[in-house]
């Protein structure tokens, strides 16, 4: 951390900073330029706890220069991590294609969806049983029954399944049905839930919060990893901006940024970003071209009758067409699918 002193600070102000750092076991590097005096903090600044140097007399501002995540950083595993879910590997040369309906509605629907996405070539099945919905009057999900149906559909098609958990109490039974837990955008900073999935050992798909910076997202991954679970896959799904033509704005730049800063695999969710089926294909292919390690796409056997997020779900036919083009784009950037 760098402490920038005010132009009119006194020698005593500077000494007080140095002294305080010393008290907390930290060193100081003084740099007196023509325009400003700067104190560099030497050592691990977490030793300072809540002490805020900006409140010291003569201080203009503090500029952090290091990020707070460690396990999630690229430095730890420069070659990148892989995450294993059954026979599926995230972070290898081969991309992971996850697909399935927004919500598990009934056994027939999820089975049809599973067969459809399997036929198209998908490697994993998704389906939500706990649906966080903006209004209390909207459909809220089929809960544990839904997880059972999802499991059965996965078993019948041989696809590992991923489903969202929204509360730590669900983990005990959800473990029986899920091969991978999804943490949704709204829960990216539900720290208790993050810690809880961190203690399970089950791989986690961590969606980015719609208003979360990439740094905060990696801090959230750090919560899971600091409990001993390093099987974390990040998922970019759009951020909230002023643009209303799409439900959210897919931040495709997150792919190269994460690649540079973190060792974790990253996949893209074009469906929630777009909010409209006709835009999903373009965003999916953009994600693959940008270097994502996979895609998670919403596919429903009959989108017109879907109980949630109907507007953005693809038919199995449209998904198949998307898949076939995605194969070519993946190969163009040196990957397989």
């Amino acid at each position: 951390m760098i402490v920038l002193m005010k132009k009119n600070c006194t020698q005593q102000n500077v000494e007080a900073i140095v002294q305080l750092l010393k008290e907390y076991g930290l060193g100081a590097n003084l740099s007196t330029g023509s325009q400003a005096t700067v104190v560099g903090v030497l050592g691990d600044k977490t030793k300072l706890g809540g002490v805020n140097l900006e409140l010291m007399d003569g201080v203009e501002k503090c500029v952090p220069i290091m990020h707070s995540y460690k396990l999630a950083s690229r430095d730890m595993v420069p070659e990148g991590r892989t995450v294993q879910v059954g026979t599926v590997t995230f972070g290898g040369k081969k991309l992971v294609m996850i697909a399935g309906p927004c919500a598990v509605e009934n056994q027939e629907q999820i089975l049809q969806a599973a067969e459809g996405v399997k036929a198209a070539g998908a490697a994993m099945l998704r389906g939500g049983a706990f649906k966080p919905r903006t209004s209390p009057y909207s459909f809220q999900g089929t809960e544990e029954e839904g997880l059972k149906m999802l499991r059965r559909a996965g078993d019948e098609t041989g696809l590992p399944v991923v489903s969202e958990v929204t509360d730590h109490e669900q983990l005990a039974f959800a473990e029986k049905y899920c091969d991978m837990f999804q943490i949704g955008a709204r829960n990216m900073q539900n720290f208790r839930l993050l810690r809880a999935v961190g203690r399970t050992g089950i791989p986690v798909l961590l969606k980015r919060g719609i208003a979360s910076t990439i740094e905060e997202w990696l801090d959230a991954a750090e919560y899971i990893m600091s409990e001993g679970n390093s099987s974390v896959v990040l998922c970019e799904r759009g951020i909230r901006t002023f643009e209303t033509a799409t439900r959210n704005t897919l931040d495709v730049s997150a792919v190269p940024v994460i690649r540079e800063r973190s060792s974790l695999p990253i996949i893209v969710d074009p469906s929630h970003a777009a909010g409209k089926a006709s835009y999903v294909r373009a965003l999916a292919l953009a994600g693959v071209a940008a270097g994502a390690d996979g895609l998670i796409v919403e596919v429903h056997p009959n989108p017109k009758k879907a109980m949630s997020d109907a507007a953005q779900q693809l038919t199995p036919k449209a998904y198949t067409a998307l898949f076939q083009t995605a194969v070519k784009v993946a190969e163009a950037v040196g990957r397989t699918l």
Copy 2:
């Protein structure tokens, strides 16, 4: 809801919409203008469930015209609601001043803080025991012990207390210590927690999420109210924007917008919005002038040594000065304090 048809839609497309609405017990109003054909949906559109008319052939887009919250709307209680916490009333002519430290650190600290804010004139005491923190390596709160200390400080000074709950499991014991529960910005869409506090009957201070629209905020209030608890006070605390000079951008416009759309009282939190003590005063006074029903301000007996959010906490002395000016501003806009 209004269904705008495409310019090149067919008569059959329009009839299919009307037919589908009929199936779901809804009426249709056709309007064929020179530029477009519009179908107005008559009746309660929630009957449609997940059916999305945008997926029907010939449809350009659907435009919702009604909001989804009911209990939280102004229509229900045009004269506005009041919320009672002990002897304190939110939503009356007199503003409610809540103050206290970001976190309850120890008994002495919270007691000093309570005495300081009481002396300044505050009506309620705040203090966090469960601290959601971006990094897992930051101080995470004093938990139940903290709540006990807060309760004692409240009892000794005669101030009702409000504290954040972050998980429904905390409610059973938190009820013993808190006069009001706070739902933090990160949990504004933690729907299970919202439902759980909705079942307690204890008044709730519902902070706005940093990326939540006012409509989503009222939908969140609706979750609480739909469980039978209508003692909800809204709290504007800043939203995330591109500006980095402040921690968040206080959306002071939320005050008149909420006043128009909702019957619920609204207070302003200038501390989290500002993120810097020197800006708190201006934002606090702006909130009062805009018509807020109160303020919640972070005050710490010794901000330099605070264990969290040190930069934005006021000293009791600075708070007292703020309070005295706030009294005058409140009177200027026809309120008391």
Copy 3:
């Protein structure tokens, strides 16, 4: 436009609206549902001029349902437009690759850059002579001399050239040197400049403003087209969001959205969005995969010594590598390059 009446509106309120519409030569369609009364405005609402129905008694709000651009809309030319710059065609099967330095610095630099990008396969040369800079103390461009150097570099390599104009007074001489005018993000709503380039007949590359919605962008294109110049190519270059890891957030969704709403070609500028050379490749390929009609990439013979935007410019070598992969991605999505 739809006029939503308040729940407690009177019959007289509704009649007053209908009467006012009649005065302005417009019709009305009444729809009285169980929840609200809605008045549909029939006819061209621009007849209303500045009259705002939201100010009429009993009106809750007005909901626009039609966009204001006409010439730029997809409806006008459903098969899409092409824009010709010399022998280069925007909007055809073959993508247009534009490349060159941020700023024209001197004759040698721009010539080297032109040769480098030509060798890589680029079809057009870019280079800025008028540089809008945030601070008055930054390098402001080589102005008309720069345009001359750019022209010469274009002539020697056989590449058409595009350069930014920032003021209508520049057009008279800039016409002599440029094959295409660029309107920068900061000038997207400089309406006088838009009208002026609209009267030149020279093709225009219209960048999106960093805080402009897609609708506003198309309205800006409409300014140019309404003066008789329909050779407009749109350029997505990133929008301003809360994320600071990149200079701006590339809104890759703009590609499919523009494709659906407008007949104009759209290209992507990965350099300004990224603000960092190491992210340019990923964003460029994402743009191609999403269906963009071309790319404009900043390439400098020696980025480390560049006089502006040094951080985001590629070396000719890095550009060549990017180009070769872009060819493959283009083919994967059915285009050529």
Copy 4:
């Protein structure tokens, strides 16, 4: 500026930085901590021109610690500047109330407006003659004729007048009619226009761009001041965010932030931020309470018939009521009106 080196940088990397700084006449301060090596740049970093140290081998990132504006900074005039427009003073104890219609429509309308706002107590008259409009099909203003009418209305009521200029060519004749030039939000980074008004010596009201940071806004003021005109008054008018309940989000925090960083007076425009007349009062009072040096409010003799921005203009009666409360709020915070 601080240069943060990569963890795995070599001694040679660091020496290369130091050497390069030396070449450009700058010093270096090395700080080798347990976590990172940091190079502090000593001297005026503008000497580096376009050279970007982030491109040097071994560099992680560069962190700027100083702002680029000088004349606009608080440091230059710690006690704050005042700006004189005729007998009106911005930045003194007394607030400046500017009011008038969005657009000058005809002589009668602007005269009525002037009389209305004068009677309410306003000190200056506003009215737009050049109207930048999103769509080319909207009313574009009465241009020079409008300025003449505005001047006459100002003369008849004894109010100095302010009006927007959108192009440097307008200045020659606009000088004859205006006591103060307004630079609108869309032109905040129209650098040629900024320089041109900087050369006139006429006071300038500089609105903040809807996507501009406070730092960029001060850089824009610096453009004007660097040409010799230090009579600049800043105007906060709302920024673009994800919230759609208001036209823009009034960033009331800008008032204390500007007060801390700059010596320039700052006023608040509640009308454009709100976009709706019923919210104007709350935002106006919030601005005064936050410490603004004045307000600029849109007032029209007959808002329902206004030719632009009808929804947000107040009647003279509503303005009078607002004014009277603003007087009280101003006094509450130690100002007069």
